[in-house]
Symmetry: D2
Subunit: 134 residues, 4 copies
């Protein structure tokens, strides 16, 4: 399994800020998800294509530590590193850093699995390849 860390840069959009003037907590989950999907696409796993084939990548658990806040006008980078957790579960370690000062904003662990049309756990070949020969 490759050990590289994928990175994706984004900007805060004003509609993502709440009445406290900072990015709403749930929005970071959007940032994290978008970066995971960009990462999966980079390793040839297209989320929309998998969904169309009846294979659903589903999140089973998410842990997010909020260290600081992003606000209007901030730029940031989200990273993601995948790891095998169990035969049918994989984890994504993710961090969000503000740019350009690299201040840690959020760190997260997202644990997912893959299920087929019948709702059964099922690892598509593309994912097996990512994790290497078992």
């Amino acid at each position: 399994m490759e050990e590289f860390t994928f990175k994706h840069e984004m900007d805060v959009r004003d509609y993502e800020c709440d009445m406290q003037g900072i990015v709403n907590n749930s929005v970071y989950q959007n940032y994290l998800e978008h970066t995971r999907h960009q990462y999966l696409k980079a390793i040839n796993l297209d989320f929309a294509d998998l969904t169309a084939r009846g294979i659903n990548l589903v999140v089973k658990r998410i842990e997010i530590d909020y260290q600081s806040s992003l606000k209007s006008g901030d730029k940031f980078v989200v990273d993601v590193k995948m790891e095998r957790i169990s035969p049918l579960r994989f984890g994504f370690r993710q961090n969000i850093y503000r740019l350009p000062d690299q201040k840690l904003i959020v760190s997260a662990l997202v644990i997912g699995t893959s299920i087929n049309e019948k709702g059964r756990p099922f690892l598509p070949d593309e994912l097996v390849k990512v994790f290497g020969i078992e």
Copy 2:
């Protein structure tokens, strides 16, 4: 075609408010859409069911006049009244009123059509019935 006006009550949720402390403009479109779908369900047109059958109800044009703003804690009612615009287009006249003082917040006209799997305009029987005998 029935002339009744359908109404649906909701509350402002804090995550819908932006840094101005008021509901973000795009969120009213969510309120309007949710009420249209509740209305369609009330006349036996289920949006998710139609989508699953390959029939997509699509919005072609939307006009929204913002008269005033909703803020955290506000209650409001959204109404909707359907009208035939052309053989293949229908309109939804919608208003949002704050409760309990009935202050007008938003008025809108949403124009939609219905297309089949090939992207062609197509009125499902359920919609034809709503509009009466042609």
Copy 3:
């Protein structure tokens, strides 16, 4: 500290569903937040009012276990129970159950703190009261 469990009922709105036809993961965080704020209001802690007074309730950590999914048309109830975690941290134990079958959809632990205008931890009197005499 009161031990009662607060409950709030909601409906899935179609715009909250993603291309998998189910509620997007980040939306559950909106449901959880809205219910926490309704709960705080029920015990006389108004989130918007606190924000206006320069007191920000902030989430430090969130753990969410996704057990099953909600889809278009589903009704559900979110509950919340508050607990003291440390002198300056409080936790909210929350669950989302589908209605009417009470199937568990999501369980979560949200850990928060309260900071003043200078970014320093600060418990407003209202919160101290909730937690009882120290």
Copy 4:
């Protein structure tokens, strides 16, 4: 008043797609708003800064024509051109084009005004400059 057209490129994020597999209608309003705010910043009008100074730029009316849909993976460009509508109202003409084929997705007219802390119409100096000497 300058007549230039400002452009901003973005990607569709999967969480912005709904159960029809396409970008939800209300999300285009987010794209349009984010591009307007980027444009305003480019001409030295910072939305968050104005809000902090008690000056609220508010949308009075929005007209959106939906020509086609964006879906997962699409790239697109949003443009904006500002025009004076009346002494206290300004309009933003905006289009969204899919990339790289430049297919028109959405065209919109957004009409706004500027109000001060008392809710009265008020044009800040920065905006007066944009519109030239009156």
